[in-house]
């Protein structure tokens, strides 16, 4: 029986279900020698803004138990330089490119989105909705369902490209926000973003990070990602979801697929082992073979088949984990 490892989400065919998450592939050329491009389903770029961003003050990094706390502050060259300088080497890898779109205002999102329209190599956009909304006193766009939906929907209309709205994995309005984004025209959802966190250097009486607060990523947040994917895909069965958070092995990816994701992204694990996508893909392949399945789509959401509970109320909080539901 031959395996077909490709997946289709929001009308886009990704050659494998394993993408590189935003902010984990440099400008595009750095890791070329350490990554087997044939294992990649796609690459989500670092978040691009209309103008160059210097990013956050250092230190930008702290290691926490099974997690990485970081705050890069969207350092990027701006959309014009990105399209001219970063995109060509990325596109040369022959892998679908998803551009992560950011901004301080709706207009800034739309500037980037329209610049990416009809650019060869760019197959989709991911709206970075954790960015602070300048017009709402710096609250993340994602913290208000109507605002998040407005941004995600407008980005989709302006670009004419499939758009994945990247949302935080915590907060009682998760399903509501995802649903609002989908209704507004987002084609899919990416779950989850780094979780806001903080570490303190007690010796120096200071935050471990220059910007005080950072985003927690890595294995520590994987259960949060699995739960978020589970809740959103159960409430919105027709909306494709990319699962991201602490994926390092095939089994980590299969967890997210079973919970309902159509594809996964590898983030922090890229930084410690750029060959991780190949390891993850091989693990998925072995799992499919063992289970006698033909494609990652056969795994997707299979958890639900054994779950007795019907679709939940839209905003459960706190929600029981998937394991307890399926028992």
């Amino acid at each position: 029986m031959s395996l077909d490892l490709s997946v289709e989400l929001a009308g886009v065919r990704f050659p494998t279900p394993v993408l590189v998450a935003s902010g984990c592939f440099g400008t595009g050329a750095e890791a070329a020698g350490l990554v087997d491009a044939s294992t990649l389903g796609g690459i989500v770029t670092r978040t691009i803004t209309p103008l160059p961003e210097k990013g956050a003050p250092t230190p930008r990094l702290a290691e926490t138990p099974s997690g990485m706390l970081s705050a890069v502050g969207l350092q990027n060259p701006g959309v014009e330089a990105f399209l001219l300088e970063d995109l060509p080497p990325l596109a040369a890898l022959g892998v679908p490119i998803v551009v992560s779109v950011g901004g301080r205002t709706l207009d800034e999102f739309l500037t980037v989105a329209s610049a990416c329209a009809r650019v060869p190599g760019i197959v989709a956009l991911e709206a970075y909705l954790a960015a602070p909304d300048e017009e709402h006193s710096g609250k993340p766009f994602a913290s208000r369902p109507d605002v998040a939906a407005d941004v995600a929907g407008s980005v989709a209309r302006v670009s004419g490209l499939p758009v994945f709205a990247k949302l935080p994995g915590v907060g009682s309005e998760l399903v509501e926000t995802a649903s609002a984004c989908a209704r507004a025209g987002a084609h899919g959802i990416t779950l989850i973003d780094g979780i806001p966190g903080m570490a303190v250097d007690s010796e120096r009486l200071s935050s471990a990070l220059g910007p005080i607060v950072g985003g927690l990523t890595g294995p520590a947040i994987r259960p949060v990602a699995v739960r978020a994917v589970y809740e959103v895909t159960r409430a919105l069965p027709g909306v494709p979801v990319m699962g991201v958070g602490g994926v390092r092995t095939g089994n980590d990816a299969v967890e997210l697929l079973l919970a309902g994701a159509g594809a996964v992204q590898v983030g922090t694990a890229m930084l410690l082992d750029p060959a991780t996508p190949g390891i993850v893909l091989e693990g998925i392949r072995r799992y499919l073979e063992t289970k006698g399945l033909r494609s990652p789509a056969d795994v997707q959401g299979r958890l639900r088949a054994s779950a007795a509970a019907p679709a939940p109320a839209p905003a459960p909080s706190p929600a029981p984990g998937p394991a307890s539901r399926s028992s």
Binding site: F25, T27, A31, R60, E63, P211, G214, L271, A275
Partner: protein, 290 residues
């Protein structure tokens, strides 16, 4: 840049340092002073980011050909684990990484200044400069005698060696900054190289600027990947024309920079940002209080 599974040939304790010699011919062949390697941490532990270390020695010829040596002071979970690794175990190593030091073409008298973690890499530079017929004067500092890295090798590698310790247990009491003017004068230094903590590098930069001495410094900033992917290890560096600056990656454009172009006031200090959660209500400084 190569990624190899490298066998540990030996692991030795030298004062407060641990030095590891590994078999990594692919990396040793390409390594230059100032460059570094990253070592993967074991799976299934709560510490998992790669650790980065300046290359102390890369042997291309002779009985040790194909070996690479790096050194560190165990200070946490990762370096603690690595310090306990034994000969014949294997490590996942990526290197050589970063851009190394440049060598002077015509000038000959080189002053090399090192403090703490910076010393092992600076000794590699000393060796290469000597091989090119340059005069090398070494100024090495640490808190205490235990933390002066390989003093006998330092002596062998240099025309003159000056040691400063905070407690006076070796060399003169004080820091390398107390010694730099005197050593530079006596040795007729024409070029300065430095590696160590930011405050020390900053003072060396000021010293060199004042005397118009060309200089290069190797910075030590926290890194997650070491291969240019994550943009966590940046240093603000002015462009050549001085019109503006860029946050350059210590692991990719660095770790060696021209100290005259590093924006020392800005490095590590607050600036308007777009962090996932805006630090509103918090002062954009790194220390509390003040």
């Amino acid at each position: 840049m190569k990624r190899v599974r490298a066998e540990i040939l030996s692991s030795r304790r030298l004062g407060s340092f641990r030095t590891l010699t590994i078999v990594a011919p692919e990396i040793a062949e390409l390594a230059n002073p100032g460059q570094f390697v990253t070592i993967a941490m074991p799976e299934g532990r709560e510490f998992f980011l790669r650790r980065h270390f300046p290359i102390h020695q890369a042997s291309r010829r002779g009985g040790w050909a194909g070996t690479l040596e790096f050194a560190f002071e165990p200070a946490g979970l990762g370096t603690g684990w690595l310090a306990a690794a034994e000969a014949h175990e294997f490590l996942d190593v990526i290197g050589p990484l970063g851009k190394g030091f440049d060598y002077p073409r015509s000038l000959t008298n080189c002053l090399l200044v090192a403090e703490g973690r910076g010393a092992p890499g600076i000794y590699f530079l000393a060796q290469e400069l000597r091989a090119q017929g340059k005069r090398v004067d070494l100024l090495v500092g640490a808190e205490t005698q235990e933390r002066i890295f390989k003093p006998i090798e330092a002596k062998r590698l240099s025309q003159t060696l000056s040691v400063r310790t905070g407690d006076g247990t070796m060399g003169e009491r004080g820091t390398v900054l107390d010694g730099i003017a005197g050593v530079a004068e006596q040795s007729g230094s024409e070029v300065v190289y430095a590696a160590g903590p930011r405050a020390m590098l900053r003072a060396v930069a000021a010293f060199c600027a004042e005397r118009s001495l060309p200089a290069q410094v190797a910075v030590d900033e926290r890194m997650a990947c070491g291969i240019g992917l994550c943009f966590t290890c940046v240093v603000p560096v002015a462009r050549k024309d001085g019109s503006r600056y860029d946050n350059l990656r210590a692991c990719w454009e660095g770790p060696v920079f021209n100290p005259g172009r590093v924006l020392w006031d800005r490095w590590g200090q607050g600036a308007p940002t777009m962090t996932p959660t805006p630090p509103e209500g918090f002062p954009a400084v790194r220390t509390w209080p003040g």
